[in-house]
Amino acid sequence: MLASKDNNTQAEEVYEPNTARPADSVYKVDQLNLWYGQDQALKNIELEIPEQQVTAIIGPSGCGKSTFIKTLNRLTEMIPSVKTTGGIYYRNQDIFDKKYKVELLRTKVGMVFQNPNPFPKSIYENIVYGPKIHGIKDKKVLDEIVESSLKGAALWDEVKDDLKKNAFGLSGGQQQRLCIARCLAVEPDVLLMDEPTSALDPISTLKIEELVQDLKKNYSIIIVTHNMQQAGRISDNTAFFLNGEVVEYDRTDKIFSSPDDKRTEDYISGRFG
């Protein structure tokens, strides 16, 4: 089911809104290469990411895992020297198509970053940021969104009386859950998480991990982590990146119990990284 090679992509028919049959994968990545200036950071990546599961991306620092997750919502474009070749298809839509609006992609694909990055505004304003920029102005609707998003991120009980307070007053773990809630507010399809717990203490980490387990019922989640135990605990599938390449991609239990590749085994068993 998780063949890391799939040449079945049909770039030509991407504009058909494909509502008839539900796709079983949210992302198909086809021969993706990426350069920062002269340095190649991603080499020939081929992956298919299933919906409503947690897919973990692991690997030592500098292996390209963060770069990879940021190409999935084209955030790498913020760096002027970046060049990309190959294709990424989100729900059969070529995301690099010139006519495709990147804002639309990013509305469907939320992202949580390594360091919690709430806006320097109130908790309420943080949550309604997404809905507001997409044109929802009705105060009642916004209030409902705030409550449901915060509940979805398991933060409601802690902050429901402080919605007008500045988000910077929250603890790091709360800030990170606020950032998750901020993504949930626009009801995305996919959640990208770029080492979401690396800046957090163990208890906050645990809360986020539980939250991820909960969220996968409704969302497809792709999580980058430098923490192999975390990948083992929360993910269904795991991709092992090394030097910009996918070394191995399979069911998480398979990767952790009997990996096919020697390098994966070495990494999993802590011989490097």
Partner: protein
């Protein structure tokens, strides 16, 4: 500093010995420390002397009459009303023009421009404009606004000249403020599907606003004290009426002070000193506001 190469072995006593010239070097250090401290103190001293001197000269003429009277032949009747109102008019027109141009340029350079030759041309151009003497801006204003665009010696001509003069200061300060907005906030906004302008308007500008405002106020306080460019465009030194619209003739406080200073009578110098006190008080007020904004919003990230 260069250690001489030791060729013989050294005994413990020798190792413990102070270098022969150490006390001389320590003395030198102390003497120079005194000199450096005195140099830094010199500026403080000059500031005190200047302010004390101007206060003792001007305090006798500093009364309500000074602010409510027009200029006069008679020193004891002379006031800065027209100049005071003229300065406020000029600033009220200059502030929005320079704010929009300056912040707009900064946004373009920081958020939209590609790193290409055109962008670096603009950037170099701005830093060179900052070094152009203000009197040259006066020549530009005289030719372009007063004569070519036929605005005459009016407030709008003065305000446009002033706006161009302080533009580089505002651009540089605003760029710094915009650049100091953390990238991860912008990333968060883009990742939510926000467009460029939405990100700038809702995230970057609110976060950079304190820095931008501080820079603008400081630039305006520079403009308030500028004399030469306004003399160039012919802001009058003796007017006994208040400006009524953008095309009115006007004068400003520094020009009125200049006028009094250039007169031979000693009494007018004292009136000038009183005018300087009013000018300095305005500057102090503006700078305090700038510092207040800076401190209040500094620890946001």
């Amino acid at each position: 500093m260069k250690a001489a190469r030791q060729e013989t072995t050294i005994t413990t006593e020798e190792r413990l010995q102070e270098p022969a010239n150490l006390s001389v070097r320590e003395w030198k250090n102390k003497i120079f420390k005194g000199i450096f401290t005195a140099a830094a103190g010199f500026s403080l001293l000059m500031l005190i002397v200047l302010i004390l001197r101007i206060f003792t000269q001007g305090i006798g003429y500093l009364d309500w009459n000074l602010i409510t009277s027009f200029a006069s032949r008679n020193p004891s009747d002379a006031g800065i009303l027209a100049a005071f109102v003229g300065t406020i008019w000029l600033m009220a027109v200059t502030a929005p023009i320079s704010f929009i141009l300056g912040v707009g340029t900064a946004i373009y350079l920081e958020e939209y421009a590609n790193k290409n030759r055109f962008t670096s041309l603009i950037q170099t151009n701005i830093s060179n404009l900052a070094g152009v003497p203000s009197v040259v801006f006066g020549l530009l204003g005289l030719t372009l606004f007063v004569r070519e665009l036929a605005m005459g010696r009016s407030i709008i001509a003065g305000a446009l000249t002033m706006s161009l003069l302080i533009l580089p200061i505002i651009v540089v300060a605003s760029q710094e403020a915009i650049r100091s907005v953390p990238t991860n906030l912008k990333e968060a906004s883009y990742a939510m599907g926000a467009t460029n302008w939405q990100t700038i308007y809702r995230v970057v500008l609110p976060a950079a606003l304190p820095g931008i405002l501080t820079g603008n106020i400081l630039a305006l306080s520079r403009a308030i004290g500028e004399t030469a460019p306004l003399i160039m465009i012919g802001a009058l030194t003796y007017i006994a009426f208040l400006p009524e619209n953008l095309l009115s003739q006007f004068t400003v406080m520094p020009i009125q002070i200049f006028n009094w200073t250039s007169r031979p009578q000693e009494e007018f110098h004292l009136v000038a000193a009183a005018g300087i006190i009013v000018l300095l008080a305005m500057l102090l007020l503006m700078n305090s506001i700038a510092v207040w904004i800076r401190n209040k919003f500094q620890r946001r990230f």
